[in-house]
């Protein structure tokens, strides 16, 4: 069979000592970068790019790819341990992962995250090997109206994320939307709500908002409650997931993998959508949705699998069409071009060692990451036993360094403080930060695509329904909205009847 032949060839390339070494370096660096909040794979790859000039193209790409998906593994570590998303794709893991850590179950959470990511990585590798060209063609079909409808679906599902009042969830989504408006408008070039501050021209930094609303507000909250209860229960319930955990999460892992693989291919959709989508799906399908947010392991397993699958399938448009799906892929494209390889449909046929070598190395990299990360769990968990009065200043310092390191901007660090305070106020008012983050990210994308579609269709709104993909997504959004709203209405009607 052709596929088997190609994969064996790829493994032959990837298993050479040089390539194995670079794969290892890549995933170790990637994990470290993922754990450190703020600095991400993009800056790291840019800094290491000159080092790859003297390597063969295959080795260079293997290492850079390792950094990218290694960062997805590392990002979940801080999300679970201290409620700070190391990468934007790990925001969702904070919700249930941190709750599990509070209950002394950080070990199982970290383990399930690693194992789920490994499973997703393996499946994604097979998907790339089998379906790369046809999937890429589908991805190219997505135009601005379809992206808009996808964002609408995403925003409606953001309401599912919240645990409490639906009204508060919608309020937070809209607040996130408004915060996302700050900056320069893509379509007109006008700057909105920047108050003349140059740093705001590109919008409020996502990292600052996420760290502030999740991490800092948590610290403030904990310091207030100090003395009244333990921050982290000292009774650690073991490091590995129990049988019950695995039973509960295996379906979530599969669903997350498929969802992540599908969404990761779409250029420009970002790495944050697959985990959110997976979380929403798990919550909707769960027998008891109220467990989510309190430490439901499906809330960690699904999103973690989704984000790793999404990270790997985001290579597909680059390797098959020469279109990078995100900034990291754009850097890879630069790396390929420096080595004289023109990314595009010919890469598979003209450079089979490159394509199949990278695909095979993804599987090897995932294996290395699991082997690396599982033993580290013991160390991470022990970190939580450090008294909180030493832990929280260290967390704060890392956050500030991380946020500053992105743009060398002191304003970003200031924003962490502002959003930390805001996050604390919202927690007191029982409003959750997750819908706000989703609104913040999806809102601007939705607006950009809406206005562009209107220009393209010369003002005709029916285009959203005449394009099949867009129509389908909007119907799904309407359906989901009904699913969310009707039970509440029925509940209220029952109350009135009584």
């Amino acid at each position: 069979m052709d596929l088997l032949h190609n994969l064996i060839f790829g493994f032959g390339v990837a298993f050479s000592p040089v390539n194995l070494l670079y794969c290892l370096i890549g995933v170790i660096v990637g994990t470290l970068i993922g754990v450190l909040p703020g600095i991400g794979p993009l800056a790291t790859i840019a800094m290491l790019l000159p080092a790859t000039f003297y390597l063969s193209p295959v080795s260079a790409l293997i290492m850079l790819a390792g950094i990218f998906y290694g960062a997805q593994y590392g990002g979940s570590t801080t999300s679970i341990l201290v409620n700070i998303p190391g990468e934007s794709s790990s925001v969702v893991t904070c919700l249930d992962g941190y709750a599990m850590a509070r209950q002394g179950r950080a070990g199982p959470a970290l383990a399930i995250a690693a194992l789920g990511s490994f499973f997703a990585g393996c499946v994604a590798t097979v998907i790339i090997a089998l379906f790369a060209p046809p999937l890429a063609k589908i991805a190219l079909e997505f135009r601005s109206p379809d992206y808009f409808s996808l964002m609408v679906l995403g925003l409606v599902s953001a309401a599912v994320l919240a645990r409490g009042s639906l009204l508060k969830a919608f309020a937070m989504i809209i607040l996130g939307l408004l915060l996302g408006l700050v900056g320069t408008d893509v379509n007109s070039g006008a700057s909105r709500y920047t108050f003349g501050i140059s740093e705001l021209f590109d919008g409020i930094s996502f990292v600052a908002i996420a760290m502030g609303m999740f991490g800092l507000s948590e610290i403030i909250f904990n310091l207030e409650a100090k003395g009244k209860k333990e921050i982290f229960t000292s009774h650690i319930h073991g490091l590995m997931p129990t049988k019950a955990d695995v039973k509960a999460s295996w379906k979530a892992v599969i669903r997350g993998t498929l969802l992540g693989s599908a969404l990761g291919i779409l250029p420009g959709s970002g790495s944050i959508i697959p985990p959110f989508a997976s979380y929403t799906l798990e919550k909707k399908l769960a027998a008891d949705p109220s467990r989510f947010g309190q430490g439901a392991i499906e809330g960690v397993a699904g999103p973690e699998s989704a984000n790793n699958a999404g990270a790997q399938t985001s290579f597909i448009p680059l390797l098959t069409l020469g279109i990078p799906s995100n900034a990291v892929m754009a850097m890879m494209m630069g790396a390929m071009m420096i080595h004289g390889i023109a990314p595009g449909p010919e890469v598979i046929s003209k450079q089979p060692d490159l394509f199949w070598g990278v695909v095979a190395s993804m599987w090897i990299g995932n294996l290395m990451l699991v082997v690396l990360n599982l033993p580290l769990i013991g160390i991470w968990v022990r970190l939580l036993t450090v008294p909180y009065r030493f832990l929280f200043p260290a967390i704060l310092i890392f956050c500030c360094i991380g946020a500053y390191s992105l743009n060398s901007s002191a304003l970003d660090v200031g924003f962490i403080a502002i959003f930390g305070l805001l996050g604390y106020v919202f927690r007191k008012l029982d409003c959750e930060p997750a819908p706000l983050i989703l609104g913040f990210i999806l809102g601007p994308m939705m607006e950009e695509n809406l206005r562009r579609t209107m220009v393209l269709s010369r003002g005709d709104p029916t285009i959203f329904f005449t394009r099949p993909i867009s129509c389908g997504l909007l119907l799904a959004a309407a359906f989901l909205l009904m699913l969310i709203v009707f039970p509440t209405l029925r509940h209220k009607r029952e109350e009135v009847k009584e």
Binding site: A43, P50, S188, S198, G334, M337, E346
Partner: protein, 328 residues
Amino acid sequence: MRKKWEWSLLTIGCIVVLTVGSMGVAHAQSYPNKPIRLVVPFIAGGAADLLAREVGQKLAESWGQPVVIENKPGAGGVIGAEIVAKAAPDGYTLVLGTVVTHAIDVSMVSKLPYDPIKDFSPITLVGSIANVLVVNPSVPANSVKELIALAKSKPGQLNFASSGSGLSQHLAGELFKTMAGVDIVHIPYKGSIPAITAVVNGESSLILNVLPTTIPQIKAGKVRPLAVTSAKRSAILPDLPTVSEAGLPGFDVVSWFGILAPAGTPKEIVAKLNKEIVKILQMPDVRDRLFKQGAEPLSCTPEQFDAHIKQEIVKWGEVVKKSGAKME
């Protein structure tokens, strides 16, 4: 006793003055004796960033002092440029300026926080990246002249994509509009990759995209190249005519990149930097890598760079005025 005290003070004073004075002299002679900051006003991984890292690395190798690349993206490059404009002119802070930060922004951005001529000492140009006019294969035009004729027959129906309002692709398109007298609709995207993707999948008809992100699509046959936008043919695509040859004489748009220091930097330091960077840009491996990325290495004297910037400001000022584009 009083006399002794006065003598001691005088001696100490002389020593201090001599030391400080000699430090000043020794400073210029021993430049560089500490790390140099090269500010890149764009994100890591972009064309500007890769150029800067190439030059920075070689500079560090030959001078033995680290050259730290600082990415300060934002506001289309204004933030990074402003930082260097206000930095100390001691030769330890440099900026990778581009056509956007030093020629376009002064006309596009109201209340620009720096003056591209007065606040900077140009060192040298380092490279230029041409734009290439490509169309979606379904567009029935095989040359610039045919495209202009098509656009004239369908006013307001053809779309041209760009990487964002106020950036060189947008203004290149506006220049095309004005010079050819056609009515094409501008569709801005967030960056050059979504923009070229839109032309590949047909959402937009044409684009004057930067070379690096377009080459893969041209090679794959996903877009049809019509011409390059520079005044001279590109060494990377030597078979393509220039827009100027193909129907719009005088059309010249390139994204150029250069290194500048804050105004007031001592002339010896400027000369030393110029000499070394020009040497780097002649190295075969540097030139080879730049070509592969779609950039053509350039070099010149500080005076030539200064004249170039002044010319570009005038040229782009005209384009911006005619197009009516403005960024706040």
